[in-house]
Symmetry: C2
Subunit: 335 residues, 2 copies
Amino acid sequence: MVTLAEVAQHAGVSASTVSYVLSGKRSISATTRHRVEQSIRELGYHPNAGARALASSRSNIIALMIPLRTDMYVPVMMEIAIAVATTARTHGYDVLLLTGEEGPDAVRRVTGSGLADAMILMDVELDDERLPLLRDTDQPSVLIGLPADTSGLTCVDLDFRATGALCVEHLAMLGHRDIAVIGEAPAVYERHTGFAERTLDGLRSRAQELGARLLHRPCEGGYDAMAVTLARIFDERPGTTGFVVQNESAVEPLLALLRQQGRAVPEDVSVVAICPDQVAVQASVRLTSVSIPAQEMGRHAVEHLVAKLDGRGEDEVVLIAPELTVRTSSGPAAS
Amino acid sequence: MVTLAEVAQHAGVSASTVSYVLSGKRSISATTRHRVEQSIRELGYHPNAGARALASSRSNIIALMIPLRTDMYVPVMMEIAIAVATTARTHGYDVLLLTGEEGPDAVRRVTGSGLADAMILMDVELDDERLPLLRDTDQPSVLIGLPADTSGLTCVDLDFRATGALCVEHLAMLGHRDIAVIGEAPAVYERHTGFAERTLDGLRSRAQELGARLLHRPCEGGYDAMAVTLARIFDERPGTTGFVVQNESAVEPLLALLRQQGRAVPEDVSVVAICPDQVAVQASVRLTSVSIPAQEMGRHAVEHLVAKLDGRGEDEVVLIAPELTVRTSSGPAAS
DNA sequence: ATGAAAGCGCTAACAC
DNA sequence: GTGTTAGCGCTTTCAT
């Protein structure tokens, strides 16, 4: 293993000079810099992470807590994780992957041990038990998702309320009066996941403003569950012509069932999905949808964190504006 | 920040005693152990990761390199990543998330800096450029996936050759003679991904042995691509009655298209999928499938790594035997 | 623009 | 069974 001292000796300078060449924290003459860089290359030197962390009390690591569950939005989580990792690298940080399993203890462990300089939490619940710890520590953090009380926290999320509103609006403008919402699995609502409730809020209030009738039904994924849900919906509201789907694993079953029942999309019923673009494009009908900006959220979270670590950056709530892409699953209501 | 020295003082013992209580590397009398543990709790002590890494030259971190691409098996990757993270925790390790982006440099950086004690590589290509580096270093590593030359390496993977054979066997036993294989996107084959080629090998050799005719077609995901591919297949081999699908995003489109063409599953055609169980169960027809044991692979990789780090554990190639679950998408060939 | 040297908090000989 | 102490490799004052 090559040490900084060896590099210093090889280059004929002192250890501190090598250190400063590396950090750029003080000016170095061009000649010595080049000599040092040359030695570094020749010897294949890599600074020791532990020593660096100990001396500087900076690990250059960002912790990312992902949910343990894989019942929901897996591709989105993955995309966020990848965006976090690649963005972090461009700022000189690595990413430590934590699962929700340890719960609040993970937060204590990471902040207490100096393993990471900052953390990003995904899958935040409305009243998340990790939040008090985050408020108590001076370690910067960013939530992806929105808890009930955001005071003293930085959050990044899609504006799900606006997303709900946008979906209803699109359908209402097309003349749809009876709109059904296919939601996430009941468990998601039971654990009060913020995005699901906020979407519902947006859907409901906008529907009321526009005089549309809304029927919301949570739905487990899959074909069978969707069949039951759909039957109930048409039972209660036979005149339903608009659908909003916020459940990836219900999308294709819904389309298949509608087809099977002889209801043409978009001639007889319109469908708007809230899902990643990939899902919307690959579905058997190209879906009008609001996409989930996974990459943007991940990138944003890291950049905010880096700003905080550099002493810039305030606490704030960033809500990303939803964008609805019209594809071929929505059209004017049959009259 | 609470240090080990402070704990020692508070407990009225020396620093080394505290250290040994923590590591269990020498016997401590019950009374001192309790006093120390008490102090640790009272003061809320957490060992400093950097200091520990420096002094012990062990970071207690395992690096996990995941592919940057998200065109394939995203839920599987996620499941592996989660299994790796949780298993690692049970052994006292944390997981550093690296994307393939940096390529071989990431390997150099991590081994060189002592950031991680070991690494797990996913998405290994047949002739992966990271392999020489792994062979050169004495840092333990495990590949999830199988390169062409496994000498000096430890690998864990589903036995895809046996998987292919098993699928053909199942269909052949049911009397199917003309079998079509819907594969991954062409790009996957072009980059010589090991699992895709090995599956194909298994399919082909077993088909030959059993006297079945095989038609292999790569396929981009999605409905439109699948429609084109399917048309071609029935064009070339009108008598096709068996399908093997190894492409998650082709599964549902295939089923929808078959339905649309009036080909009943499993009465007219049988379908066997190679995919996660979740996909097989949630599809519009419950699919006979060979599942991808993501959890098992992740767990296995970590446990092998931990064994190596503890001085146990040999290099070896672990091929997990495929299991085919019969569901309702396969049946006797129409005669 | 460069050097010397004092730690950072912990581990692991080495003593007893 | 416990204490003493010398580093681990780096950063960062304080000098010059």
